[in-house]
Structure formats: structure tokens, C-alpha cells
């Protein structure tokens, strides 16, 4: 135990000894506002905090809503660590839909390669979701591969995710996959980098065994309201899937970088 502590202290000293331009508007974090995430971690030494309110209008009138919070930190160059939590009403029903209420999700996102003239930026992400919330059962692990390529007037993103759930009931799928593709661009002829429009489409496993895949489409924007503060909003719809799928999901929130 003592040697483990020494290794841990050494690691922290090494990180602290390292030196502590930034891309803020384009830093696409998951659910801020859409599912798509870019392959670039937050800049080294940047701290970002976000909060939002999400309302899901579901088929069958069993709507739900609630706040979400997240914190990101550029721990070392190319590595972002973060934590996120979301609460929703009807936690039991949402737990069956694969939506946690109050679970703590921590993640690390590491940029494997930067974008060059011939290659997109590539990142790997590992996340662990702890069952700290209501009606939660087990610890889940998520792995993701992210790619981002910039073109003259827009950027394209692809995210591939795999999740393994720690505890499931008989009717629930324990392994889930998701593929998301999206683009973002700065609107306006003057090219001011104050607003970013984002659109994505996602295909994901149905949480219920035997259920058809869920296809969703989303549209959102991020708008700078302060030097390092952004307002974001998004709207999305699940086009296929369960009978009580979200016909419309609205999200509005704020992100601040420090």
C-alpha cells in the first residue's frame, strides 16, 4: 500500500511539475448540447463547468425533465478528465430506458493524434458510470472512439461508443453500441466565431432485448455570450425505437471556461 501511495504521489508531482489559445466555441462536449462530441480535449489547464435543463416530450404523455451538470479539466496536454451527472423525473421508468438519474459518470478523453493535412484528429474516451443515483443497479463502463476532420467552412465528426452495463434485468441489453455522425459550422458571411451550428444523427441499440434500433436526429447551437461563457441549446427527436420514445427533446444550458 505504501509503495502504491509513493507511485501515486510521484505521478501527481510529475503532473504538477509540467507547465500548466484555446478553442472554446468548438469544444463539443457530449450533451452540450447534442450527442456528438469532437475529438479534441479541452485545452491544457482549462476548467469548464456546464449546466443545462432538458425536457423530453414522450409518446404517451409520460414526459420527463431535469437538470444536468458537468465539469471538465485539461489535466495534462491532450488529456481531458471530467465528471457529469443528470437528474430526471420518473427515475424508475427512465432506468429501464437506459437513462440514469443521479448516476455519476467520470471520464478521460485522450487525443491520440492531432489533425494534419491528411489525417483527422483521433481520440479515445473511457468512462465509468457509478450507480449513485435513483433506481441504479451496477457500475457501467463505456469506451468510445472519436474522430474530427475540419474542412474550409465546416467540421465533420464521427463517434463510436460501446457500453457494458454492470447489472441488468433479464429483459435489458447488457452491451450497447452507438454510432453518431455530425457536422458543425460557423454561420454568417463575416465568419465571426461567436455562434456554432451543430447537427447530428445517431443510431443506438435499444436498451430492451429484441427491441429495434433507435435512430435519432438533433440540431443545436452554441452561442458566445461572454469572453469565456457560452449559451447552448438543442432539439432532437428519436425517429424509431420504443413506443414511449422521446418525440422531442429540448435542452438549454450554459458553459463557462476558466
Amino acid at each position: 500500500m505504501a509503495s502504491s501511495r509513493r507511485i501515486a504521489c510521484g505521478a501527481l508531482i510529475l503532473l504538477a511539475a509540467r507547465l500548466a489559445g484555446a478553442q472554446l466555441l468548438s469544444n463539443l462536449e457530449r450533451e452540450r448540447p447534442l450527442s456528438i462530441e469532437d475529438a479534441r480535449p479541452v485545452p491544457y489547464r482549462a476548467l469548464s463547468g456546464s449546466t443545462d435543463w432538458t425536457y423530453s416530450l414522450r409518446t404517451g404523455s409520460l414526459n420527463d425533465y431535469g437538470p444536468g451538470f458537468s465539469v471538465l479539466y485539461g489535466a495534462v496536454r491532450g488529456l481531458e478528465v471530467g465528471a457529469a451527472m443528470r437528474w430526471v423525473t420518473r427515475p424508475e421508468r427512465n432506468a429501464n430506458r437506459g437513462i440514469a438519474s443521479g448516476d455519476l459518470m467520470i471520464h478521460a478523453l485522450y487525443q491520440l493524434s492531432e489533425e494534419t493535412s491528411s489525417m483527422p484528429a483521433l481520440s479515445g474516451r473511457i468512462g465509468v458510470q457509478f450507480p449513485t443515483g435513483l433506481d441504479s443497479k451496477g457500475t457501467d463502463v463505456e469506451l468510445a472512439a472519436l474522430a474530427t476532420r475540419s474542412f474550409d467552412s465546416f467540421r465533420a465528426h464521427v463517434n463510436l461508443r460501446y457500453a457494458r452495463l454492470g447489472a441488468t434485468v433479464a429483459t435489458e441489453r447488457s452491451e450497447r453500441v452507438e454510432a453518431v455522425g455530425g457536422i458543425d459550422f460557423v454561420p454568417g458571411a463575416r465568419g465571426l466565431t461567436n455562434t456554432l451550428v451543430i447537427a447530428d444523427a445517431a443510431v443506438r441499440s435499444n436498451p430492451v432485448v429484441g427491441g429495434s434500433a433507435i435512430v435519432a436526429a438533433e440540431l443545436g447551437l452554441r452561442h458566445r455570450i461572454g469572453s469565456q461563457t457560452f449559451l447552448f441549446g438543442g432539439a432532437g427527436s428519436e425517429l424509431t425505437g420504443r413506443h414511449d420514445r422521446a418525440r422531442l427533446r429540448l435542452r438549454l444550458g450554459l458553459t463557462h471556461f476558466y
Binding site: A11, G21, R45, L192
Partner: protein, 290 residues
């Protein structure tokens, strides 16, 4: 528990080792003074933002199309429209100049890290609690952090001329030169003793800039050494670095005059910008074709 602690340590050591050679520049140095120009001198900051947008846009256009009289008129119109309604916030460089960022990464990062250094000077001096002693300490820290990065410029062994740019795009060069002079003049104004004086001097400088950038007259010397004597006297190292940055910017523009529309032009451009990068102590790795 023991395994978890050891696993966590190995995880961070591995990522720490992997990131030792990483190129990304850090978030700008933190301090209470940050964004002071935006808060207390918004009219000045808006014009500085227009100049920043103009510089990045010029690099993006020049990287592919080169610098010539035909583009000069188009680009100068863009600059004038920006200055007519200057932007409130500074640009995100990789969205304004995406191709330049991808294909000339060392130059892009050195210029962006230099922009942070330039911004820090204005913000430190514009801070409401600034005094010569406090500003000196803050700027010394900012300079130390700047120099630690691999994107900090070193003094080249021999001086070079950027005269070719002035001849190839006289209108754009004149406006951008007036913009560079605005940075130095504003820093000199902000070095004044109190907020009242700062406010009055900055207003005069902004008004002079608004009159001058569109006027058809030869570019004036825009270096800190000629425009900002107080800055040079109080913070000589800082002024020297900013003048070096301005010379570097001009040399990069000069290296892009021919553009990169054909293979031969691209090769020539790449070797020229790589030579500029090496002169200023940067690696040429990451420049397209190098």
C-alpha cells in the same frame, strides 16, 4: 483499494509520459486581470479583435491564393467591413484559418501563442488594480510562461525584410500595419497612471486609428520600440518579444506571397515558410510537405 490506487497511478504516469511530447499550447495564463480590456475598454478591444480576425483571415487566404493586387482589394474590403462594425469577442483562430492551422501547424501555433502574449500585455495594463510594480510582476510571470512553450520565438541570427508584402498588397498591408500600431499605442496609453487618463488617451488613440486605417498614406513604423517608449522602458523584454512577433508575422506573410495553387508553388511556399520557422527556433515538422 491497493490495486485501484496503483492502477490510477499507472494510468496518470502513462498519460503524463505520452503527453510529454505533445504540441498543444496551454490555456492562456489565468489571472484576475484577464479580459480587463474587454470589460473596461470595449471600444478598443473591439478594434483589436477586428485586427486579429484580419490577420488570421490574411494567413488563410495567402496560404492558398498568395498575396497579390487582385486579392488585396477583396481582402481590404473585408477588413474595412470588419472595422466598420468591429467584433465584440476575439476570434477562434482555427475556425478563421482552418487550412493554415492544419497545414502550417508550427507557424499557426507560434502565432496563436504570440497572440496570447500580446493580449496579456493589454489586459494586465488595463486591469483596474494595475500599478507599475504589480504589472511588472504579472508581465514577468506571463513572459516566463510564454518562453516555456516550444512555440515561443527566439531571435533570428540575421534580420530579414518583409518589404515584398507591402508592394504585393499595399492596401491590406497598410490596414494591418495600422492595426499593429494600434496594439503598441494602446499599450502605451494603458501604461498611464490612472483610469481617467487611460480612458482619455485610449479614446484619442481609437479615434486616430479610425481616421488613419482607411487613409491613403504610407504605413508608419508600428514597433513597440518606436511607438511605446514607456512600455520599452518598463518592460523591455516584453516589448522585445512583441516586436519579434511582429517581424515574424511579416516574414511569414512575405513567405506566402506566391501562394500554393500549383504543386510547384506549394513546394516553394512550404520550403520558404519552413525556413522562416527554423530562423525563429521552431520546428518545421507539421508544415505541409515538410
Amino acid at each position: 483499494m491497493k490495486r485501484a490506487v496503483a492502477g490510477l497511478a499507472v494510468f496518470f504516469l502513462a498519460f503524463g509520459a505520452l503527453s510529454l511530447d505533445r504540441a498543444d499550447e496551454p490555456f492562456p495564463p489565468k489571472g484576475r486581470y484577464n479580459h480587463s480590456a474587454h470589460r473596461f475598454f470595449p471600444d478598443l478591444e473591439a478594434r483589436l479583435n477586428a485586427v486579429r480576425y484580419g490577420r488570421w483571415r490574411a494567413f488563410e487566404i495567402a496560404w492558398t491564393s498568395g498575396i497579390n493586387r487582385r486579392l488585396d482589394s477583396q481582402f481590404s474590403s473585408y477588413l474595412l467591413s470588419l472595422l466598420a462594425t468591429p467584433p465584440r469577442f476575439s476570434p477562434e483562430a482555427d475556425r478563421v484559418a482552418p487550412r493554415f492551422a492544419r497545414e502550417a501547424s508550427p507557424l499557426f501555433r507560434a502565432l496563436r501563442w504570440g497572440q496570447v502574449l500580446e493580449q496579456q500585455l493589454i489586459d494586465v495594463l488595463a486591469s483596474p488594480d494595475s500599478s507599475p510594480a504589480l504589472s511588472s510582476r504579472r508581465l514577468a510571470r506571463s513572459l516566463v510562461l510564454y518562453r516555456r512553450e516550444r512555440w515561443a520565438l527566439v531571435e533570428p541570427p540575421t534580420p530579414a525584410s518583409g518589404e515584398g508584402v507591402l508592394a504585393a498588397a499595399p492596401v491590406s498591408a497598410r490596414i494591418l500595419s495600422a492595426g499593429t500600431r494600434l496594439f503598441a499605442s494602446a499599450a502605451e496609453d494603458l501604461a498611464a497612471s490612472d483610469f481617467g487618463q487611460q480612458r482619455w488617451k485610449v479614446r484619442t488613440t481609437v479615434a486616430e486609428f479610425d481616421r488613419s486605417y482607411a487613409a491613403d498614406r504610407p504605413p508608419q513604423d508600428s514597433t513597440y520600440s518606436s511607438t511605446a517608449p514607456t512600455i520599452v522602458q518598463r518592460y523591455p523584454d516584453y516589448a522585445e518579444h512583441l516586436d519579434r512577433l511582429a517581424r515574424f508575422r511579416l516574414e511569414v506573410y512575405a513567405a506566402l506571397v506566391s501562394g500554393g495553387e500549383t504543386d510547384a508553388e506549394r513546394r516553394e511556399r512550404d520550403s520558404r515558410v519552413a525556413a522562416v520557422a527554423r530562423r525563429y527556433g521552431l520546428s518545421a515538422k507539421g508544415i505541409h510537405g515538410q
